[in-house]
């Protein structure tokens, strides 16, 4: 049984450190409290971003959980060169892409069994969709890549270089996605883009 005073001291030092210090502590000492603090600090951004990308709260939370478990496994590979949050978002984005691939494979398999099952699947799928805001309307008009890039840029405040690192796209492609997304929003929603 751990001494409560020692535990409190450990927790307070975990709460005060920078992300990089916490990573170092978690890797070198296998300190679960340090990693717990990292999870608490970043869960909102990771879950929020995945909710925007998947538009399904339950799926987003599952993917976020998977992201943090994977982050624990791969923590020693974080070099500390970039920000921890963009490293974490890279893992989250990979989880998102994997789930998309699985969903595509699943729907392709379901399609083979005919339209009856597809209808059932679509009903089940639409139950998970949780957004009905202006933002949802705006994002629905964009391609998947454009949506991802816009969420990372405007919701998470990642730089173009960081988005490029997270998605694996060259910076030029990131910029052109943002440019095209802006244009499309301006065309489709002049009242949203200030083009009144």
């Amino acid at each position: 049984m751990e001494d409560p005073i020692a535990k409190n001291l450990k927790l307070s030092t975990a709460e005060s450190g920078s992300d990089e210090e916490l990573v170092a502590r978690a890797v070198s000492l296998q300190d679960g409290d340090a990693f717990g603090e990292l999870v608490r600090r970043h869960q909102s951004r990771v879950r929020g971003c995945l909710r925007q990308l998947t538009r399904d709260f339950a799926l987003a939370d599952d993917l976020a959980q998977e992201t943090f478990v994977r982050a624990w496994d791969k923590l020693s590979s974080f070099s500390g060169q970039g920000r921890f949050v963009s490293w974490l978002m890279k893992l989250a984005y990979n989880e998102f892409l994997q789930s998309r691939r699985k969903a595509k494979r699943y729907s392709a398999a379901v399609d083979r069994f005919g339209t009856e099952q597809t209808a059932v699947h679509n009903q089940a799928g639409s139950a998970g969709v949780a957004f009905s805001s202006d933002l949802e309307v705006v994002l629905a008009a964009l391609s998947e890549e454009e949506r991802s890039v816009m969420v990372m840029s405007f919701a998470l405040g990642l730089s173009h270089a960081e988005i490029g690192d997270v998605t694996g796209m060259p910076i030029g492609t990131v910029k052109s996605h943002i440019h095209r997304a802006r244009q499309r929003i301006r065309e489709k929603f002049p009242e949203e883009s200030g083009g009144k």
Partner: protein, 111 residues
């Protein structure tokens, strides 16, 4: 002109994202993640011990035979009975020795 337009668009979009993406309350999420990591750690350790035990069980007989052969060779080449004499070896002794070493081996594997 386009720059000003883009800035205005960006501000509107940021506002839209702020509205649609309020901070997500933890609601036990972090604890669930840490519990899952703890379970994985325990599972990994159990699998390692199991694998080490299995390895020991498989290695015990060949290791004994190897040691017996080494004892025989040393006796023959040195012309006298050595400490590691063949008749002193029992597979159980080897298992016990390897068993005592296993926590060290497992910690090496974990690292």
């Amino acid at each position: 002109m386009t720059g000003i337009h883009n800035q205005r668009d960006d501000e509107r979009l940021r506002g839209l994202f702020r509205e649609a993406m309020p901070p997500v309350a933890d609601d036990g999420f972090s604890d669930r993640v840490l519990r899952r990591i703890g379970r994985r750690k325990r599972m990994r350790r159990a699998v390692l011990y199991l694998a080490a035990g299995l390895g020991l069980a498989i290695a015990a007989r060949p290791a004994t035979e190897l040691l017996m052969a080494a004892g025989d060779w040393m006796t023959a080449s040195l012309g006298q009975s050595v400490v590691l004499a063949a008749d002193r070896f029992e597979p159980m002794v080897v298992v016990v020795v390897l068993g005592l070493l296993s926590p060290f081996l497992v910690s090496l594997l974990e690292d």
